[in-house]
Subunit: 307 residues, 2 copies
Amino acid sequence: MSSGSVAIFEEGPREGFQSEPPGIPTSQKIRLIEALAATGLSEINCCSFVDAARVPQMADAETIMAQLHRLPNVRYTGLWLNLKGFQRARASGADMKAVLVASASETFGLRNNNKTRAQLIDSQRALGSAYKDAGIDRVAGYVFTAFGCNYEGAIPVSNVTRSVQDLMTLGEECDLSFETMVLCDTIGVASPNGIARVIDAVRDRWPELDVALHLHDTRGMGMANALVGLQLGIRRFDASVAGLGGCPFAGNTAAAGNICTEDLVYLCHEEGFETGIDLSKLIACGLMAEEIVGRRLPGKIKDVRSL
Amino acid sequence: MSSGSVAIFEEGPREGFQSEPPGIPTSQKIRLIEALAATGLSEINCCSFVDAARVPQMADAETIMAQLHRLPNVRYTGLWLNLKGFQRARASGADMKAVLVASASETFGLRNNNKTRAQLIDSQRALGSAYKDAGIDRVAGYVFTAFGCNYEGAIPVSNVTRSVQDLMTLGEECDLSFETMVLCDTIGVASPNGIARVIDAVRDRWPELDVALHLHDTRGMGMANALVGLQLGIRRFDASVAGLGGCPFAGNTAAAGNICTEDLVYLCHEEGFETGIDLSKLIACGLMAEEIVGRRLPGKIKDVRSL
C-alpha cells in the first residue's frame, strides 16, 4: 500500500563536493553522478556555475556537463547565482533548474549575498527576465534561513511569509510561476515544532504552493524534521548522498551537510512512500562518495552491511 | 509553556563503555558518571555486574560503585543478568533498578541469552522472588527486539504483546508491579510507522502501563523514532551520552549505540518538554566521552560550538 510519491533532489555532487577541499578529480565526480542517476533519482545537482577563482572546487562545471553520459528521464542540473552563471549553465547543456532566492534573515542575506532584502530581490529581476527569454516559465523559489539564522537567531514566521511574498511578487513581475517553494534550514537549526509552524503559515496563505524542504543535519534533527514534513504532506526534499557536505575540517562540523539521501529514502519507503529509487544502488553510491572523499561520511544506512 | 516532563535513563557508562575495547581507566568512567550526574540526569546506568572473564570491560563494577561521589536525587544503577549479578549489585551499594526481560524474537533470545522464550521467563522466576525478598516491589520490564530482529526480520506486533503478557504474568507470580515497560529497538531497525504500531498495540491492551523506548540509531531513524514516541505520549527514554556505544571497529557500525542523550534533550526542549537537564553541561559530557574513548562519537549537538 503506497502513501504516495516523494521526489528527492540530489545535492551531493554540487553542495557536497563544493564543501570539500579542491582537488577531487572530475572523473570521480562524473562517476558518482552517473551512479546516482542509475539509482532512479530523477534530479541531480551536478555542479555550480560560479567564479572558479573563488570556488575552485567547481571549476570543472562545464567539463562535467560535457563528459557526463546521460540517462533519459534524469535532470542533470547546476547552480548559478547570477546572469553570467545562468548563461554558462545554458551553454553547458545542463538541464535547467531556474531558481529565485530570498533570505528570511536579512543579516544572513547581507553576509551571504552582500545584499539587503530589497537588493537581493532587485538583483534577480534581470535573471527572471532572462529565464523568460530562454523559454522558462516555471522556477523554484528558495527561502534561506527559514527556520533560524546563526546571526539573528530565531526567525519570526512573518519573515518567512514576507520572503515568500517577495518571491511571488518577483515571479509575477517576470511572468514566472513556481513549481516549488523550498524552505531551507540553511544552518541546520530547525526542530520539528518550528518546521510545522513555518509550513502551516506558508500553506495557510498559499495553499496551492508545492512546498519543499531543504534540511541540514547539524543538530541531529534532520530525519525528525523530514518526518514532520512527511506528516504534513511535504512530498519534495533536497538531500545529499551519504550526507556529503558541510565542512570536513575537525572542529568545524557546525556546518553539517544536507540530510543523507539514502537515509531519507529508507524513511520514505518505511513510511509507505514511493521514491522510484533503488535503495541498494543508492547505498553503493554512499560508499562510493566516502571512497572519493577518503573519509567516513555521516549517513547511517550505508554502514549497515546486512541491509 | 511546558508540554510536560520527559525522563531520560543514561546508558552511556554501561552500554557504551561495555561496547568499547577493554582498558578504559576506572577513574575516567567515574569522572564521566560524576559529570553526568551534575547535569541534572536523574538515573545513570554505571556498570554491569556480569562475568569479568567474559566482559572484562565491566570488571571494575564494584570499584566504580565504591569510589563514586554521589549526588542526592540521582540513581546510580547497574545491570545484572542473573541472581549472582543481582547479589553483587546489592552488595556494591548500587541503586536498585530491578529488571525483568523478554525477547519478542525467539531467535534473538536463543542467540543472545541461549534460552527459548519459555526458558527465558522461567529463568527469571528466582530473580523475581529475590527482588521481593529484597523489598523491591516495582520493576522495569524490557522487551528486546520489539521492532525487528536481525535473525527473524520483521516481528509481528502480536509477538511484542505476547512478550509483555509473559512479563506481566511473571510479575503477578512474583507479586511485582511494573514502573515502566521498555520497548527496545535492540538492533536499530525501527521506523516511525513501526514505533507507532507497536506502542498503540501495547497501550490498547495495557493502558495503565508507563511505556518507554530504548532506541538505537543504526539506520539514522533514532531521532525521528523518538519524535514519534513524544507525539504518542511517551515520556521515558533510554539514551547514551554522545551516542556512545555500538562497535567502534571499522565496518561493523551496524551495531550503533543508543540515541544520543544530548541530541534527545535538545529535541525535548525544542518540543517544549522539560527534562531537568542542563544541556550545556551535558554537551560538555559528550565531549568528555569523546576524549575518554579517543575518537569522534556520533552525537551532533556537541559538535556545534556556537550553541
